[in-house]
Amino acid sequence: MLDGVKSLAKGMGTTLKALAEPRDTYPYPEKRREYSPRFRGKHMLAKDEEGHELCVGCGLCEAVCPAHAIRVVAAEAPGDEPVSWTSRYAVDYEVDLIRCIFCGMCEEACPTNAVRLTPFNELAAYSREDMIADKEELLRPAIRK
């Protein structure tokens, strides 16, 4: 009998102690966790200070991707208006976020540091098409709402 009361008190003690401790869970989505800047989430394509795209469409990320998730189509910059910082740029750049395994190899392979994996990880959509991020989408890095 006494033993029972003792263990009950011990159990309640643990519960009461935990009540006062800081929490490990978050009330998502009201509150969100801050990830390390090195977190490998959704990709982005960076630009330089003058607004030129860093990606030159070299296709190395495409080649290195173990999941074949990237598609790059390069072209010569139209007219005298450079899109990237050289005369070659990517007209088409797609990442299939369903295929991607977020290994970060593309980021590592990129000679211009154009493709980067951001901490953004809220990847959900109603259709497969919406999970293919095109160039335009990647050029405006996703912001968590």
Partner: protein, 769 residues
Amino acid sequence: MVKLTIDDQEIAVPSGTLVVDAAAKMGIEVPVYCYHQALGPLGACRMCLVQIEKMPKLQTACTTPVAEGMVVHTGGPAVEKARNGVLEFLLINHPLDCPVCDKGGECFLQDYAFRYGPSAGRFEEPKIQKLKDAPINEFVLIDQERCVLCQRCVRFMEEYVGEPQLMLEGRGVETVVTTVDHQPATSQFTGNIIDLCPVGALLSKPYLHKARPWNIERQESVCTMCPVGCTTLATGRDGRIVRIEGRPIPERSWGWLCDRGRFGYDYAIDPTRVTGSFLEGQPEAAARTTRRVGQWFTEVIAEHGPNSVAFVMGGMHTMEEARQLQRFATRAVGTSRLAISRDVPGYLPRALNGTFQDIESSDAIVLVGVDPYEAIPVVHLRLRERQKALPGMRLYGVAPRSLTRDTLPVNSLLTHVGEEAALLAAALRLAAGDHPAVRALGEAAVASHIDQEQLTGLSAALLESEQLTLLWDGQEPEVESVLVALATVRGDKPTRVLPTWGPSNWRGFELAGFPARIEALTEVLEDAKAGKIQMLVLWGCDLLREYPDQQLVRDAYAKVPFLVAEGLFPPSEAERFHAIVPQAGPGEVMGTYVNMEARLQIANPSVQPPGQARPTKTYVTAWAHALNQTFRDEEDWDPYDESGDLLPMQPLEQAIKPLTAALAVKEGQFELVTGVLVIENGIPSAILKPRKPEYPGRISVPDAEALGIADYGVVRISKNDHEIEVPVSVDPAMTPGRVYVPLGMASMPVNAVGTGWVEVIRLEEVHSA
């Protein structure tokens, strides 16, 4: 044979062999930049340094011939240090361009730097900046920063092609490759320098930034633009062919291409290409069109018998496709009316057919009618190579226009139109007049004024040479008899002929069972004109553009109730056709092409046919079905049965027919001369457009003056109520009294007037340059 040791292995090679080639024979790769077998040694890049025992310093393997007992080391600390140094120097001013460089991934600078080079350079000063992506011409760009100054491109143009349009400019680190006078290079062989350049300095403009080596697929293919049938590699990406490269064949071909073949691949995506079916001029579903045509077959055969159907083969089809159509025609339909679309009337018995190797060993070559530079460009390079190897080689031309060029001096004998056979016969009579074969040719007189000395020279070339090769454009059918007589007179001494006419695969069509002589086609057309043909099926050909007598084609078309065409492009006057179905072209089907050497060459497909385009088999299977027959393709027919990739020789048994008299010379009239211009062979290309001559006709300087044409103008050429309008340019190489119009141009169909004597008047002066 000389014995030497390379890397501890012994080898015996012919004397005069260079160390680099001897090593290559043993499978030892010595890195090279400037050396290329076709161009010979130069010793400019120092990449090939090797150590040779008893020589105090390292030697360049590309300039050192082998010697008895030589001991060569292609590795070791000294060689490695030297290579390392050479590469460090090369990279001093080399930009960090690999990610944006089209050669990246297939570049010898990358490969060698990776294998032999230093991991980092010590040079920290800013790199010298030079021109990037500057045009060499419409097709080739140069990035001078990436150039390693190996001079392959310069030497190829200057020494090999003989058109020195590239040069080195500047000194020391400022040296750059550029065009002479900074004018665009006009040669038709410029594309080859892209293949030759070991680094990414010379780039293909249409391919610029299109793909990287890892996202393309290269397929071995064959160029079908002309009967030379150069071997190619087709690069496919995303369902399109985006590049054509040369494919060298050891001991046989350097892999050169002309710009027509290299850059003309975009016909496959040309907006004029037929990719859907048409029934009575209206777009129609493929299945319905095929079914309707099947019904026509059934009805026509039921009502008029199988022989009221005729098939004409042409275009860029494979031999297998020709065989399928032939089997369908003869077995399912049961007709005997077959023909090949021909644009010139000549025919060459296979007994006389030569190969390119014959050119390489001939001591006399005679061009009959054909200008190789314009009609069969890569053969022009082969002829040049032979002329350089044997400076005393007898090279004659017999044609109604001068065939000599700066790059290939020819003793050109100028005949009247239609007198080539008579002139050749006259040359034969000169030295072998008593031979029965020559007597069988008769005594047709020659009206052309030929220098007696020239004629004796030609006669000697024809009869006294040890090995004789002739190139013949087939415009004059009687030449065949002369060639047979010539071969008979020469007996054991080899006499070989290369037929230079199209369609490029006509030998393949012939092998598949289509009669190749033009008489078969003429008969089909005459029968059609006489109302004996109810259904005419044209496979890939455009008779109005091709057949020498346009009027006959027109008359024939008018009498045929069912005109059916298959092809890559709509035939001329497409509205006359009752059904048009799309063709799957070269690069889209697998098959064999037989070139002018009678050599069988396989082409692999790179891409899928666009739209509704289907290979021949799809159509014939469906139509056979309509005729209640099963079309089976598997059979014992193997074109390679006979003798591997070269069709076997046949005994020469053609009869020699007496020559007819030439056309009478008509005072005050012009002679219309024609010939193939490969860039205007009827296959459209947006890439090649800037190269197509705006004024393809040609007249001589005095005639231009008389007609009041300064540099360019438009003339009307007429004969017997038929006329064509031809934009002409003034050509100093033209003979007065003659006008030249390329063969088979839809906008100025020579076959509407026919060659020979014509009237020429000026229409208007367009402008003068």
